[in-house]
């Protein structure tokens, strides 16, 4: 677009030209470069200056000087001296003309130039050569007014540095001290000061926190006019005060700022290329870190860009992202519409343009974005309407890639939200994709959509999309029983089972992505990222060491290696790969293999945290902590949770909060703190959105836990009612996998209420659900419940129960958590004990050993009820065996647990951990 013409000559570029001259004509320098590496280092520095996008504004002369000091080593002072004297010697328009004609001489290719020794001939087509040519061209097309402006700006640019006999800040203060009293007159100025202090504060904080946005504090000069309407959240007075004690050379006294500074001609935007790079980088950062990026700071930067370059519409998109991730719905909608109104979706998107129509408007992308936004905010109906419109427009515009992305988005939407809502909309709305009629079920519609979307992505060679489609497919296979699409014909061969092999296959196909990305690297990103990283490295502490030749080269090597590594695999690829591991972990969780789930989560946590969004990382941490709680008790889990919470402090809609509530609830149930359990359970329910079909997982979780609390409180009929309505809800929203759990809970309720006969069908139903969805661990626990039910029907069923338990034991002992294992062991010994053909005196260890293990595990969990039962059984056995001492011991433990059960303590040492 306007990139070529956006190149304006500025004082900073003149400085870079001077540096280039020094680089290219080293013989003119009195102390020549002492080594090749020093020379190269200067070259690299200049390259970085022209390429890096760590900021939007061009650096000031001071910054340039301090950086030169870092890279120049022994040559630094000379470089600085030469630079400043050369730049400040430009005092008339004619000096500028001579300067730029000299510059032309550095370029190779013109025969008239006499080549001196040591001269580095700049290839006119190299990056630096191009830069120089652009500068010369930009100067040549300047009008006389332009030259005058350039001269004035160079004057301002140099003035501040050259008058450094007085510290900068003092200088400023002196200039304006005469009207400080008048300043205190106007009260709203005061407010501004505070706000300004606050902003500075924020900038500082942010700089320390992320290091991603190195925001030049000079920018604040121009910004200070804009800070008026930044809301001050906390008491600004104290903060301001703190600020004052800190000795930061960059922070200007706010009061003098708004009064004295003449902002004209001082700030220049970098080249369009660099600003775009900066914006892209920021967009990535926002998407990755979500709400933890400071809203106001970034908003200020954006406003500044908008002021300096009103026609750069990409800013609106960044505004949109920023408000999206800070959950500001109205601002997000406004800015999204604004961006697409101005740029028609052309600016800043790197979609592969369909051949032929290069400049056509892309409003379908606007629709796609709007749809995703509604999805993000939890408006499934609107999202689906918009996405359907996007499908139609993409078809009209024959924008195939957008269509593929839209289809993927629809798949994602309809698999996430409750399907019954989708069914309603998909059924009524006129849409070519969904006009399959209502004869097929929603799941089948989704399946067809997924296939279609995958096919499109493959034929368009959108590799990332293919990979994420494979992931979506895997997710689908994980949860859905395969059925033939057509509902007529012979059904004899139908096996109603999910297909783990397919899941595995899709996940593997997804991982192929990593070998395919090599062909698509965007040069924009790599170049700039390299330069930015290189410049950033300068500011790291080791840069300020005295530079000997050895560590200098080593350092360079380090920098290069670091950059090469970070840019060799695009972040988006890593992100998709990471989510494939995340999906693997949840797949194994569903199938019931704890070790494999844990391994995959660990792989994700170690390899992909850098590239993935903070919410995904938080999710993995939650999974690991859950694992910890199930296998090593709450104490470990809570301390891990504390660490994780500190790390993901600002992740909105945190999964960690849900996890915390879940753990608290479990623990409260085990310790029989029913009030606390109910309270926690209610809190969990409140977290879910009130919109139908949104946050289904959370809603299910909350009412499942509600039923369990009621069960623990022995309100059997209420618990059964809640479980029944939950079952209906899950059935309505097509959450079949979840139904297995609910059926099991119902069986449990009947077992506890003493209606074992009623419980049996539920347990059997749950068992068959587990079988068809391959939920192995849940199946084992259903088998266990079944055995318990049989056992409670009378001692003549003990044999059958024992066989069932023995069948399930391998799975339970291999993969089950502490609670399940203990339950199985106690049930096993109960079976033995109630078996009339078994005698304690013959083989007491058969029952004692499992009981001992069970009570150990239960004590870790503080599961009083079950532990009491275990100790009770033990005591009876010891009594029979006549081991009185052991009997007393078991009885004492029994008493302890029963006491704890009956008088739940209010104070809990673990709660203090949180």
């Amino acid at each position: 677009m306007a990139a070529a013409s956006a190149f304006a000559i500025t004082p900073h570029k003149v400085s870079v030209c001077v540096l280039l001259q020094m680089y290219a004509l080293p013989t003119q320098a009195t102390p020549p470069f002492s080594s090749v590496s020093q020379h190269n280092r200067l070259g690299l520095y200049i390259l970085s200056l022209t390429k890096s996008y760590d900021d939007i504004l061009e650096p000031k002369l001071e910054d340039l000087i301090s950086q030169l000091r870092e890279i120049g080593g022994s040559l630094g002072p000379w470089l600085i001296d030469h630079l400043t004297s050369r730049v400040s010697s430009l005092s008339s328009p004619d000096d500028l003309f001579t300067f730029f004609s000299e510059m032309r001489g550095i370029l190779g290719g013109s025969d008239s130039v006499v080549i001196e020794d040591n001269q580095v001939i700049l290839d006119p087509n190299s990056i630096l050569g191009m830069f120089l040519r652009r500068c010369v061209l930009a100067f040549n097309v300047l009008s006389f007014e332009g030259v005058c402006h350039l001269l004035t700006n160079i004057g301002i640019y140099c003035k501040e540095v050259l008058s450094n006999c007085m510290p900068y800040e003092l200088h400023r203060l002196d200039g304006s001290s005469n009207d400080l009293e008048s300043l205190s007159e106007c009260e709203n100025m005061d407010l501004e000061n505070f706000v300004f202090g606050k902003v500075n504060e924020e900038i500082e904080e942010r700089k320390e926190a992320t290091e991603r946005v190195s925001f030049h504090l000079h920018a604040t000069q121009a910004i200070c006019g804009l800070v008026e309407d930044v809301e001050v959240v906390t008491d600004p007075r104290s903060k301001h005060h703190d600020k004052g004690t800190e000795d930061c050379p960059h922070v200007h006294r706010p009061g003098t700022e708004s009064q004295d500074v003449d902002p004209y001609g001082e700030v220049f935007l970098r080249t369009n290329w660099q600003v775009q790079g900066y914006l892209t980088e920021q967009a990535d950062a926002i998407e990755k870190h979500g709400g933890s990026v400071s809203f106001n700071t970034f908003e200020l930067i954006l406003r500044q860009i908008k002021k300096l370059a009103p026609e750069l519409h990409r800013v609106h998109y960044l505004h949109y992202l920023n408000s999206l991730y800070h959950d500001d719905y109205f601002a997000a909608v406004e800015n999204l519409h604004c961006y697409f109104d101005y740029s028609a979706g052309i600016e800043g998107f790197d979609f592969v343009p369909p051949s032929g129509s290069n400049n056509s408007a892309r409003y379908e992308i606007a629709l796609l974005c709007l749809g995703m936004m509604h999805f993000y905010f939890g408006h499934p109906k609107q999202a689906l309407l918009v996405l359907t419109e996007a499908v139609r427009i993409s078809q009209v515009q024959s924008n195939d890639s957008c269509l593929a992305y839209t289809l993927a988005a629809i798949c994602n939407l309809s698999s996430e939200i409750g399907s019954s809502i989708t069914a309603g909309i998909l059924g009524t709305s006129y849409s070519p994709v969904t006009s399959m009629g209502s004869s097929v079920s929603v799941a089948q519609q989704l399946f067809v959509l997924l296939k279609e979307s995958l096919k499109r992505a493959e034929s368009l060679k959108l590799k990332r999309l293919v990979a994420s489609n494979h992931l979506a497919m895997a997710k689908f296979d994980l949860m859905h029983v395969q059925r033939p699409l057509l509902s007529f014909g012979p059904k004899a061969s139908m096996r109603l089972k999910t297909c783990p092999v397919n899941v595995c296959k899709e996940l593997r196909l997804c991982s192929h992505l990593i070998s395919e990305f090599a062909s698509e690297t965007s040069t924009v990103a790599t170049d700039g990222a390299f330069s930015t990283a290189w410049l950033k490295n300068l500011t790291k502490p080791m840069g300020s060491l005295v530079l000997t030749q050895e560590n200098e080269s080593g350092e360079n090597f380090h920098a290069l290696q670091f950059c090469a590594q970070s840019s060799s695999i695009p972040r988006s690829v890593l992100q998709i790969l990471g989510s494939s591991y995340l999906l693997r972990a949840s797949a194994w969780e569903t199938y019931g293999s704890a070790p494999l789930a844990r391994i995959n989560a660990l792989v994700y946590a170690t390899c992909f945290t850098d590239s993935s969004s903070s919410s995904d990382t938080a999710l993995v941490h939650a999974k690991l902590i859950q694992h910890l709680a199930a296998f090593q008790g709450y104490k470990e889990a809570f301390s891990a949770l504390k660490v994780a919470e500190e790390r993901f402090l600002s992740v909105s809609r945190s999964v960690l909060l849900v996890l915390k509530l879940q753990l608290l609830h479990e623990r409260a149930l085990h310790r029989a703190h029913l009030k606390l359990a109910q309270q926690v359970c209610d809190e969990l329910g409140v977290l879910a959105s009130s919109v139908m079909g949104v946050d289904m997982e959370l809603k299910r979780e909350a009412s499942l836990r509600h039923a369990r609390t009621l069960l623990a409180a022995k309100q059997f009929s209420e618990a059964a009612a809640v479980a029944h309505s939950l079952f209906c809800m899950c059935y309505k929203f097509n959450m079949q996998v979840e139904n297995a759990t609910i059926l099991l809970l119902l069986a449990e309720i009947h077992k506890k209420s003493g209606n074992a006969v009623l419980g049996l069908p539920y347990a059997l139903a749950s068992l068959s659900f587990c079988q068809s969805f391959n939920l192995d661990l849940l199946k084992a626990s259903a088998t266990l419940t079944l055995a318990e039910l049989w056992l409670s029907l009378g001692s003549n069923h003990a044999k059958r129960a024992l066989t069932l338990i023995h069948g399930a034991l391998p799975m339970i002992l291999g993969h089950g958590g502490l609670e399940l294992r203990a339950r199985a062991r106690i049930a096993e010994s109960k079976c033995y004990l109630s078996d009339p053909s078994y005698s304690v005196f013959e083989d007491s260890e058969v029952v004692l050993d499992p009981l001992r293990q069970a009570s150990d595990e239960l004590q870790v969990l503080e599961y009083h009820e079950l532990a009491a039962e275990g100790f009770y059984l033990m005591a009876i056995i010891f009594d029979k065996l006549g081991k009185l001492e052991e009997r007393e011991e078991a009885a004492a433990s029994f008493k302890k647990h029963v006491m704890a059960l009956e008088n739940p303590q209010d104070e809990d040492p673990l709660l203090n951990l949180l």
Partner: protein
């Protein structure tokens, strides 16, 4: 209201004082109002009333019930004493400076006054500096224009002026004119609250400076802000309020104020133009046309506000009148944004959209923030089927004034044209929010809901109901309501609306396919309800119409 005579003498003094301080546009405004005061016909020769002829006919047409000229009870106007000049005779240096100023050599003027200490001299020096800065700013805006849009040039005098004026204000040696300038400077610096206070002080102590009032008005963006001002009850306040109400789109309130003011300033062209503006916003095109015909007869070289007249002519498709108007303003001053807009309108009416866009572009070159040109250009692009350009133009209009419902509506229409009805809804909602009593907007929104793609009939019905309740001229809403209800199988509601529609058509003596449809439906409905007599009535009426329907019966 204070007597005509006192107004007249106040204005005469004010004009002299304003002229003395080179506040020319304020003095122009005051002079216009001075001439607008009704003269005693007995005392003056016809030549004095030359600028007032014909005006009384407007009054006759629109003021059938003559408003009493007594002020509303309880309002008493303060009479601000006319300001005393500190120097009766201007110093020589002042005279030189004023001459320089009149020749637009601002810096020279300021330099001459450097050592003068009088309030008047200080003001003129500061004002000259301010204008010099403004001039330089405009130049720089062109010089520094970058590829990514205008870099923002600033008035470089503002900082030092602010310092000086704030000290003067603190020491209490500032006159109302100085306060006005201080207000300008503060607005430029973006300090709106203080600017409001300062301007308020200025108009309270010297109410005849219309420029100060209009700056103050530009700071009143909401009715709450307007109500929070404490202004003394001078008659100039009435002008201010009327104009502020208009800007806040409280057109009826504004009209009452203006009509009240017309009792004193019965010949003021300004007031007439403002009334026309309000009527235009209320879509009373006939009245606007009459007012402007009179105005242009009195003041044939007027360019201000005439673009509105051209819009009216455009809407009424008066080709020759519009071309005549365009020719006239072109001869008067072709480099006024208004002139370019009128010519653009003319070409648009002729269907030559490319040329029309050219002239709107020229208008925007002259004034980048000329709101209606952006919107009109958007309309042209829509006609040329260049939707992205249209959207861009409308969006710029909206960014200049987010309360411009026409541009929001245009955006909605453009997106609807591209087959994105859901996306368009966002914009229709915006426009409806701003102008909730305009049936066209509601109908557009309803049609959006009605499209095949969305087919959200319930929402469409809600919109049509709103449209029907706010004076739907084309009577689309009632018919659509009836049709939609019939489609949804609610025959009772459908019959109700068909009946309403029928009554309305009868009242307006319109006939057509809608009539047949209504009659047919009602006949069938009555038959189903076993009200055969009623059905018979409808059927007999149907027989009056030829076509397939009568043969069906």
């Amino acid at each position: 209201m204070s007597s005509r005579e006192s107004c007249r003498s106040e204005l005469r003094t004010a004009i002299r004082q304003l002229n003395d301080r080179c506040l020319y546009s304020a003095s122009k405004w005051a002079a216009e109002q001075l001439v607008g005061i009704e003269q005693d016909p007995a005392k003056f020769t016809p030549s004095n009333t030359r600028f007032q002829r014909g005006s009384s006919s407007i009054r006759r047409r629109f003021h059938t019930n003559d408003v009493t000229s007594t002020p509303p009870a309880g309002v008493s106007y303060v009479s601000t004493p006319v300001m005393e000049e500190d120097e009766v005779v201007d110093g020589d240096f002042y005279l030189l400076a004023k001459s320089y100023f009149d020749c637009r050599e601002y810096r020279r003027a300021a330099h001459v006054l450097q050592d003068q200490t009088g309030k008047k001299a200080t003001f003129l020096r500061c004002y000259a500096l301010y204008l010099a800065g403004e001039k330089r700013k405009e130049e720089e805006m062109i010089e520094l224009e970058g590829p990514l849009g205008k870099s923002d040039a600033v008035n470089r005098e503002v900082a030092s002026l602010e310092r000086e004026l704030s000290i003067l204000r603190k020491n209490g040696i500032i006159d109302p004119f100085g306060l006005y300038l201080y207000g300008l400077v503060l607005i430029e610096k973006g300090n709106q609250n203080l600017a409001r206070t300062v301007l308020m002080e200025s108009v309270n102590s010297y109410p005849w400076n219309w420029s100060a009032w209009s700056e103050l008005q530009s700071l009143c963006t909401t009715i709450e802000i307007l109500n929070s001002l404490t202004l003394s009850n001078h008659w100039m306040k009435e002008f201010f309020l009327a104009s502020a109400y208009q800007e806040l789109r409280m057109h009826n309130e504004s009209l009452t104020k203006y009509e009240h003011l017309q009792n004193t300033f019965s010949f003021s062209n300004y007031i007439r133009a403002q009334i026309a503006k309000a009527q235009y916003c209320l879509r009373e095109f006939e009245q606007v046309e009459v007012i402007f015909e009179e105005l242009l007869r009195n003041d044939p070289y007027r360019v201000e506000d005439v673009d509105m007249y051209s819009n009216v002519l455009y809407a009424k498709e008066c080709f020759s009148a519009l071309s005549y108007l365009a020719h006239r303003v072109f001869m008067t001053d072709k480099y006024r944004p208004e002139s370019c807009c009128i010519i653009g309108n003319y070409y648009s009416l002729k269907g030559q959209h490319e040329k029309s866009v050219l002239y709107f572009r020229r208008a925007l070159k002259l004034n980048k923030n000329y709101l209606s040109a952006w919107t009109l250009m958007g309309h042209e692009y829509v006609e040329m089927k260049n939707t992205p350009a249209a959207i861009d133009a409308y969006r710029r209009a909206v960014d200049i004034n987010p309360r411009d419902y026409r541009a929001w509506y245009g955006l909605g229409q453009a997106y609807e044209m591209m087959g994105m009805p859901f996306y368009a809804l966002h914009y229709f909602k915006k426009s409806v929010f701003l102008q909730s009593n305009d049936s066209r907007l509601w109908i557009a929104m309803a049609q959006c809901y009605e499209t095949d793609q969305l087919h959200m009939l319930e929402e469409a019905i809600k919109c049509y109901r709103r449209a029907a309740s706010c004076n739907d001229r084309e009577a689309i809403a009632l018919h659509q309501l009836a049709k939609l209800h019939a489609e949804l199988g609610r025959s009772e509601e459908a019959a109700l609306y068909y009946k309403k529609d029928l009554e309305r058509m009868e009242a307006e003596e319109r006939e057509g396919p809608n009539m047949v449809e209504a009659l047919l439906f009602l006949a069938q409905h009555c038959r189903e309800q076993k009200r055969f007599e009623e059905a018979e009535v409808y059927c007999t009426r149907l027989l009056d119409y030829t076509g397939p329907v009568s043969s069906m019966i």
